[in-house]
């Protein structure tokens, strides 16, 4: 019987969730993108209003789905729905936009409240010249030193793999307890 497991990729608007999933998904990411109308959210032309949906087939019996949450706050009612039954989650943070750090922190706390599953924080866009140093971000995000905060570049496959494997290793440690 085919078994499916899922992980959720969350984070503030334009933090790179869609790109992260696209980089490793074996199918074209099913995303529902719409033109943005809100003035404050004109950073990119379109945004994910429902969800991204990527797939990695492990073998004949196991499939991993990656779900991205909608970036805009008015769709946060979807978070809880998407979180149900996840193995773990990844909080994407745009390293070049400190104005989103507080929101990232809130999202992290919300998800942690929804489901006590393992998680990692990915400091995305570390290849950009404006990127904050990861350890500066840890202080800014008020992340305890035992919370994994990983430098990441969502369009780089190796980087995405590292983040996913780190999360899976944390899940493994949880299971082994």
């Amino acid at each position: 019987m085919m078994q499916t497991v899922k992980m959720v990729v969350t984070g503030p608007f334009n933090s790179g969730k869609t790109e992260f999933i696209q980089t490793v998904s074996e199918i074209d990411v099913v995303s529902t993108e719409r033109k943005i109308t809100a003035e404050a959210e004109k950073i990119k032309e379109s945004t994910t209003v429902a969800m991204d949906f990527g797939r990695i087939t492990v073998d004949d019996e196991l499939v991993l789905y990656l779900f991205g949450t909608p970036g805009q706050k008015r769709f946060d009612f979807m978070w809880e729905i998407l979180s149900e039954g996840m193995l773990g989650f990844i909080v994407m943070v745009d390293s070049t936009r400190p104005e989103t750090f507080r929101e990232a922190r809130t999202i992290l706390e919300t998800f942690r409240a929804y489901a006590p599953t393992p998680y990692v924080v990915a400091a995305n866009k570390q290849d950009k010249p404006d990127a904050w140093d990861v350890e500066d971000m840890r202080i800014a995000l008020r992340l305890d030193k035992n919370i994994p905060l990983l430098p990441a570049v969502a369009r780089d496959k190796e980087s995405v793999k590292t983040v996913l494997i780190e999360l899976l290793q944390i899940i493994m440690r949880e299971i082994s307890k």
Binding site: V58, G85, I171
Partner: protein, 273 residues
């Protein structure tokens, strides 16, 4: 890497904390609409500060601190020319007009005053120039940031506590059903009355703030006091408190070995991508 942003999102207290913890050396430049401040740090300690439109030379600082008389300050301003602060300080100390302690204390107080004013800036672009030293003619001090941060933290703590109490401004308020409470007899501030006049389950706190022209901090203060007084309650969206199953429940029905096997297969597959 770049350390820049806006005080709207990252406060002075947080910046000082970062500089302190990371023991940074360099100059923090903060620019508001009308002023710009430059704060220099050495190994995480305050070394120097200046703000635009204000004379930050030693003579002016000592005069402001009443260490120099107006006549002495005038003489220095008119005759000292381009003498550096270091030279001026030595001359004044050697001539017995001031003590070294006078100089250090006056500089410390002046720099602290600038920093304390910065705490009141809630908006302004900032950037940190790594390694940038203070102007060479100025006198550096070496001041721990902890006490400065504690003062700033008091303000930040209030903000954070209020955020914890009221994390979601999209919630609405409604009056509690408390028999015997006549709201008209309560002693409330103008701000509290403004908010009370808008209380309705249809109005979100954010909308009330907008209508009454209050900042997030101000509306949180008022709503928090109303909540503490038991006059109002938050109307939460249905289901928001419902918690979802954790990892154990997600993998329920499998033995530990099966769970580990599943995760190992996932790891193996991702490695092979």
């Amino acid at each position: 890497m770049a350390l820049k942003g806006n005080l709207r999102d990252f406060t002075i207290t947080q910046l000082l904390n970062l500089v302190n913890l990371a023991k940074k050396t360099g100059t923090l430049v903060v620019e508001s609409a009308s002023q710009a401040a430059r704060i220099t740090f050495r190994e995480g300690k305050l070394a120097y500060a200046e703000i635009s439109n204000e004379d930050s030379r030693l003579g002016a600082i000592l005069h402001k601190a009443n260490v120099l008389t107006p006549a002495q300050y005038r003489t220095i301003s008119q005759r000292a020319g381009n003498i550096s602060d270091k030279e001026l300080g030595l001359l004044l100390i050697n001539s017995g007009h001031v003590t070294q302690r006078d100089v250090i204390t006056s500089l410390q107080n002046h720099f602290l005053d600038i920093l304390q004013r910065l705490f009141n800036w809630d908006e302004g672009q900032f950037y940190f120039n790594n390694g940038e030293a203070l102007p060479p003619d100025r006198i550096p001090i070496r001041m721990d940031l902890e006490n400065i941060i504690i003062e700033g933290s008091r303000r930040l703590r209030e903000w954070e506590q209020l955020q914890d109490e009221l994390p979601n401004l999209d919630l609405a308020l409604k009056f509690t059903d408390r028999p015997g409470v006549n709201i008209q007899k309560l002693n409330m501030s103008v701000e509290e009355w403004k908010v009370v006049s808008y209380i309705n389950p249809k109005n979100s706190i954010r909308q009330i703030a907008k209508a009454s022209r209050m900042s997030d901090l101000e509306i949180r203060r008022v709503v928090y006091s109303l909540l503490q007084a038991g006059l109002v309650e938050l109307v939460r969206p249905e289901g928001i408190e419902q918690s979802l199953p954790g990892l154990e429940q997600t993998l329920a029905g499998k033995s530990k070995e099966e769970q580990k096997n599943l995760v190992n297969r996932l790891i193996g597959r991702i490695r092979s991508l």
